[in-house]
């Protein structure tokens, strides 16, 4: 019996039929899109949807007559989609980071596009950002949120088919997005490049995710909703709003990939960066704080430092972030007053951000010996440190005169990667190293030494990357604003580009170290599932059906 048999065998025959109908409907939509778009590149995406849904439909169809499941659903958690989500997250991590190293290398050595259209910088760059943010980050968030909500609510996921629809449907979106960039399909909105049909599909998937999450929390057998779930809920709700509003667009026809946004001019810019900054806030911050709030105290075996601080930082983060997007548009056609609001709210945002980082680090009081000995916990500690550093940097860069120097330079790129590598990726790796042995019921990770190797590769890679970009960004910014005593510009743009060369090489090298670390992590997780014996005396989860105190 292989994994597919086991996973499908846990669905009742009614659920298998429902899943098959869903696959059929998706395949039909794909066929319709392919037919309408047969004279456009979008036809390929119709075919991709058809094959994707058809493939899963085939798996189901050949297993429709399997025996009914025997497990007691009232007394167990639903972990299959979580396992699949972890595998997908790690696969996307390797793909997305490889693309990152490639585009970084192209900046130092432009010939690395090998004269193909699909491999030019403009097309590869969004495959990197989408691959790591949505592919790696998104799958990790879906998987861990499914795990955390069940354990902290002591309730099984409110559905057998819908978690699969969310996970696989989301990955179909990622595939449509990434293959679209290579085909030259983009709506040219940063971090929202995917075109209208992929966006519509994501709305369906995301609303399903939202409903599933709410229904699971509604089933909870704990009197209170744990902090991690506040953050996951904020992540799901706000991402839905951002995605819908920023992607309001009219396709030129049902058979074409191209669409036009409904937002005109500077309002489009404002909506885009309201989206862009809150994608950082609610996708890359709130979601991953949800992760931190569960896996860090579990691994440290310490209570959260302060519940009150959690409240303050949660509401601070959710309220202040909403205002901050306009700091991406300092000194542009956007009215001055909107820039002032963006800047001042960004500065006020620093306090709740640091409160979160501080709450995480103070939770480690009494467990610092574990941080020293356990690279998994050290991943999470380092993540909290980088979270604190990059939120400080973010508020600093949002101040208009500072932004005058940093805007459009590599400093921004360095800032993003201090957050994306140092915070988002490190907290994810720490969480997955905690989660993988638990979920597959293994005694431990295959190799603690390899976790250690991964940790140091990640730290070295991040530091090399960030220092290179700080240097090059500040040099760029200074070169662009230096005047001679005659009042003429001292340097041309090309001069600044030549000055970047050594830093671009260093950046690509830092990224390469980080990628190697991720590959080591994949191997370690794979071997954990393959080669580590089943745990016999592991302290397990509190079961779903255990008596609730005071009930």
């Amino acid at each position: 019996m292989n994994a597919t048999d086991r996973m499908i065998g846990r669905l009742t025959s009614g659920e298998r039929q429902a899943a098959l109908i869903l696959c059929g409907l998706t395949a039909l939509s794909g066929a319709a899109l392919g037919l309408a778009g047969r004279n456009d590149v979008v036809g390929w995406h119709g075919l991709l949807m058809l094959l994707f849904a058809g493939g899963f439909g085939f798996l189901l169809m050949t297993r429709l007559d399997m025996a009914e499941p025997t497990e007691d659903r009232g007394a167990s958690y639903y972990d299959d989609p979580i396992k699949a989500g972890i595998v997908l997250a790690m696969a996307w991590a390797v793909f997305g980071m490889f693309m990152g190293v490639w585009v970084a290398a192209q900046l130092a050595w432009p010939d690395l596009h090998f004269d193909n259209g699909w491999s030019t910088f403009g097309r590869l760059r969004p495959t990197h950002t989408t691959g790591v943010i949505f592919g790696f980050g998104g799958n990790a968030l879906i998987a861990t949120s499914f795990h955390v909500v069940q354990r902290t609510s002591r309730a099984r996921l409110a559905g057998q088919v819908s978690p699969w629809f969310v996970l696989l449907g989301y990955n179909l979106f990622c595939l449509l997005a990434v293959t679209g960039y290579l085909l030259g399909i983009t709506q040219s909105k940063e971090y929202a490049e995917a075109e209208w049909y992929a966006d519509l599909w994501l709305v369906v998937v995301w609303v399903t995710y939202f409903v599933l999450y709410l229904r699971t929390i509604a089933r909870r057998r704990e009197p209170h909703i744990y902090v991690a779930n506040w953050y996951f809920m904020a992540f799901i709700v706000v991402v839905a709003i951002l995605h819908i509003v920023n992607n309001l667009a009219l396709p030129i026809s049902w058979g074409h990939a191209k669409s036009y946004t409904i937002w005109p001019g500077v309002q489009d810019a404002m909506v885009q960066w309201w989206y862009g900054h809150n994608a950082v806030a609610f996708f890359l911050t709130a979601g991953f704080l949800g992760m931190l709030y569960y896996y860090l105290p579990v691994r440290a075996q310490r209570p959260i430092f302060s519940y009150r601080l959690s409240i303050l930082s949660f509401w601070g983060i959710t309220f202040f972030y909403m205002w901050a997007g306009s700091h991406h548009l300092h000194y542009t056609a956007l009215p001055h007053w909107v820039q002032t609001l963006g800047m001042t709210f960004s500065v006020m945002l620093l306090v709740p951000s640091w409160a979160s980082a501080g709450n995480a680090l103070l939770t480690l009081n009494g467990a610092w010996h574990r941080v020293r000995d356990d690279a998994t916990l050290r991943f999470m500690m380092a993540a909290a440190v980088f979270y604190g550093l990059s939120t400080f940097e973010g508020s600093f860069l949002a101040i208009r005169p500072v932004n005058a120097l940093s805007h459009y330079t590599d400093w921004t790129v360095g800032h993003v990667h201090a957050g994306a590598l140092g915070w988002v990726a490190l907290i994810t790796f720490g969480s997955l190293y905690t989660l993988v042995p638990t979920l597959w019921k293994r005694e431990r990770m295959y190799s603690a030494a390899l976790v250690e190797v991964h940790f140091w590769l990640s730290i070295a890679g991040t530091l090399i990357y960030v220092f290179a970009m700080w240097n090059s960004g500040i040099i760029q910014g200074l070169m662009w604003r230096t005047y001679t005593e005659d009042g003429a510009l001292a340097y041309s743009f090309v001069d600044s580009l030549v000055a970047m060369y050594p830093y671009y090489i260093a950046r690509a090298f830092g990224g390469l170290l980080f990628l190697i670390g991720a590959v080591v992590g994949c191997y370690n997780m794979w071997m954990t599932v393959r080669a580590v014996p089943q745990a016999t005396s592991r302290t397990g989860d509190q079961p779903v059906a255990a008596a609730v105190p005071g009930e």
């Binding site: 209170h224 105290p297 009150r308 001055h336 009042g487 041309s492 743009f493």
Partner: protein, 293 residues
């Protein structure tokens, strides 16, 4: 209410809840956090009083400082222009000869021209202005349209085969493709042209082709390139007798040029730069060549 559990490490009470083993302490928010929160709020509110900040209907609060980015940037542009005016006005209005004679002014032209060249010309002609296949070297003494500041200025303003109504026009016809010359004639004339800058090529074996090529050249090429193949700067026809080439001087490239023709493109900069900038660049490019050893 039952007394909550007390954490042995910190001595704090927990909130009394537990989620799959996770507990929370009831630690109060540290005073420093509250101070910091109050401080950033005071700063933000104060800032709102000083600069444009909050929308009110169709307008917004203007702020006590009376600043606005639009007026600021306009003032800074004027400030910048007046800083450059002492030399830029002279470059824009004085005759080239007197500027070239003023070494102090030429120093400024060289440094300002270097940046202008880097931002506007280097993409095609290279950062060192040495060009590449299809884009002429600007540092040598071989000019398609003349290397005096006045003629360079004309080239910059009008462009070559450009959208400007008075654009310089230069076209090398596609003698082979448009069947003005036979295949053998193309080869012969290419051999002749190649031999002009490669005297060693002329041997007993090749002399017949070269001589045949000389006749083809006289009837088909000399009208533009001149009887001695030294080109005509008035119509942008390149000198073929030297060893400097726009598209390449190897036999294969010469055959390709004769067969398929050439029509280079230089954009017009007339409306994209100020007079001072165009004249700075004209002087800069002229000076590049003049300064070569």
């Amino acid at each position: 209410m039952a007394v909550n559990e007390r954490d042995p490490v910190t001595g704090r009470e927990t909130t009394g809840h537990e989620w799959n083993g996770i507990k929370e302490l009831d630690t109060p928010v540290p005073r420093g956090v509250l101070m910091f929160l109050i401080l950033t709020h005071i700063w933000a509110i104060a800032w709102w009083f000083f600069v444009p900040a909050w929308p009110i209907g169709t307008t917004y609060t203007k702020g006590l400082l009376g600043v606005d980015q639009q007026t600021t940037v306009e003032a800074r542009i004027i400030e910048g222009q007046s800083e450059r005016a002492p030399w830029a006005d002279r470059v824009a209005s004085e005759p080239y000869d007197s500027i070239l004679a003023d070494e102090g002014l030429m120093q400024t032209v060289r440094s300002a021209g270097d940046q202008l060249f880097g931002d506007n010309c280097a993409a095609c002609h290279g950062r060192d202005a040495r060009g590449r296949a299809g884009y002429p070297d600007l540092t040598d003494d071989d000019w398609l349209w003349g290397g005096e500041p006045e003629t360079i200025e004309q080239t910059l303003r009008l462009g070559i085969n450009a959208a400007h109504p008075e654009s310089r026009i230069a076209q090398m016809p596609a003698f082979g493709r448009d069947q003005m010359l036979e295949r053998t004639q193309v080869r012969d004339v290419a051999a002749y042209v190649f031999a002009l800058s490669n005297p060693d090529y002329s041997t007993e074996e090749t002399i017949d082709r070269i001589e045949a090529g000389r006749e083809v050249f006289a009837t088909s090429c000399a009208a533009c390139h001149g009887d001695n193949a030294e080109g005509m700067a008035e119509i942008g026809a390149p000198n073929l007798a030297d060893d400097r080439w726009v598209y390449g001087g190897d036999m294969e490239t010469i055959i390709a040029s004769v067969h398929g023709g050439r029509q280079g493109h230089m954009p017009t900069w007339d409306e994209r730069m100020t007079d001072a900038e165009i004249r700075t660049l004209s002087l800069y490019v002229h000076d590049l060549a003049a300064r070569q050893p």
